[in-house]
Symmetry: C2
């Protein structure tokens, strides 16, 4: 993969999908080769035109000679590997461009799995040599906000009809957005939403969050947005790396621990035996889990008679 | 709590909020006292009038002499204990009614935490003696769908403007909805959405999912909805208990394990020592996590020289 083999990159991404047992050890090496790509998040409610915007951003960055990776995430979809979003994206302009690589991720069911998988895929793209990584997710719920934490800069895309979304999510939106975009700005109500965002940003945020009006489909307002993103890039740089090591270690560790322990419980050996015995004995999930935790902690602390 | 002391119930719910160290052992006893309350989920996008609908449902069930618990969940809010939704709900009609108990839950940041906390709170309400438990959540993202898995019957509330939401979420919506409600049905577009839901349900679902038009604020259509919910109650009964024991055990266990292990890593002792040594040595979160996993697994399998 480090030699620029895209099939190797794809294969490693499949390892991420399956939480392959060697994944964590491979990712250790990948981190050493990460070059610090610029990670731009694009999120917003369904129908706000995020994909079109991402498409235009790809075009501009490509014209500047930058290589662009795209992670398209749909938390509502159980499909992975391009089944849903991939189809949509393949229809766009950059399918045949060798400097563009697109990967779709869908919900994997496991707790926090999608945000973990996004981090891994972004790191793979970074180590592979993409200069800009665009992370697109549908929706503005908690899952999407968690995922966006991986980005250096996050663009929240809204439309003139997004008044309700803004009201419901205001604190969350202000926390995550570095830039607001009012897309489809030729529609009625664009000015009202624009003003609403500007005044909310004064109320809720330490810094004034810039608001842009765009019509992505007509390429209107995109150049201005790109200029602003460049400004923000210089400003933020090191912010995201503070405390990252300790937090990331815990995050990777807990996710791996859950995988390993689930495996232990489902395949042969003393843990599965204990698990089966307990569910048969108790018929009470909390009691089973309680006894199972005691069993694990006793072993962890070396209080066993093996 | 089992004697009907609401302050004890509230205190136990605070234990859920804090993941109190005795929680799992308390919940073991609580499960033994669960009576099998009827759990009705109500979800839908912001502004669809879910709270008004819930308010009217409370009114009807109360008039039938049933005791009603309400869990109001806002995955976008970091607040708990009623700071956000509570305020909204306290303004409604049932604040002074002793047969109604309302609890708000907000995002707790931890992976899967909100759906775990919802299950715990619902079980507490069940053991306390509420006959009907209404679970209301804002939004229709993955987090909300996970949360709704705890309900016996789920009502998805939409409005005539929800066309985009339906298109984006269709598979997820069909999977989770037992009943669709088109609320604010006096608005333009209600008939189109109604037809769209009916035809989607034919395409995606094994059973025809009933669709109701309501104007919750004028109490229109609510009685019909309540009748349908009663029909569904008789139909579904045992479906949700299949495999529940094993799945729930694993869910409770993994969430407790994460809590315990995070604690071990942050307080005195050999695990913290190892954690600190590794982050100092590696400066690579995956490598740290990898070594930490190895350390844990070695101890779990008794391969230590203690």
């Amino acid at each position: 993969m480090l030699d620029g083999d895209k099939r190797a990159l794809s294969r490693l991404m499949t390892y991420v999908d399956n939480r392959h047992e060697d994944l964590i050890s491979i990712m250790s090496d990948v981190v050493d080769h990460a070059k610090g790509a610029w990670r731009i998040g694009v999120t917003g409610p369904p129908g706000s035109g995020k994909s079109t915007l991402v498409d235009k951003l790809i075009g501009i960055y490509r014209s500047e000679g930058l290589k662009v990776g795209v992670v398209a995430i749909d938390p509502s979809s159980p499909f992975t590997g391009g089944a849903v979003l991939g189809d949509r994206i393949r229809m766009m302009d950059h399918g045949g461009d060798d400097g563009v690589f697109i990967r779709s991720l869908g919900s994997r069911g496991s707790h926090g799995g999608l945000s973990r998988a996004t981090r891994d895929v972004v790191l793979l793209m970074d180590a592979f040599g993409f200069d800009v990584i665009l992370i697109e997710t549908v929706g503005v719920g908690q899952t999407e906000l968690d995922i966006m934490a991986v980005a250096d800069t996050t663009v929240v895309v809204l439309v003139p009809e997004s008044g309700d979304t803004i009201q419901t999510m205001k604190a969350g939106l202000m926390e995550i957005a570095d830039v607001f975009v009012v897309n489809k700005a030729d529609r009625e109500g664009a000015d009202r939403i624009y003003a609403e965002l500007a005044s909310l940003s004064q109320l809720f945020s330490h810094v004034q969050i810039p608001v842009f009006k765009t019509e992505a489909i007509h390429k209107k307002g995109i150049e201005e947005l790109v200029l602003e993103l460049k400004k923000l890039k210089t400003k933020k740089s090191s912010k995201h790396f503070k405390n990252l090591l300790v937090e990331e270690t815990l995050d990777v560790f807990l996710s791996e621990l859950a995988t390993h322990v689930t495996q232990e419980l489902s395949t042969k050996g003393k843990f599965k035996k204990q698990y089966t015995a307990l569910t048969a004995k108790h018929k009470n999930p909390y009691r089973c889990a309680h006894d199972l935790i005691k069993f694990f902690l006793r072993r962890l602390h070396g209080k066993t008679n093996h």
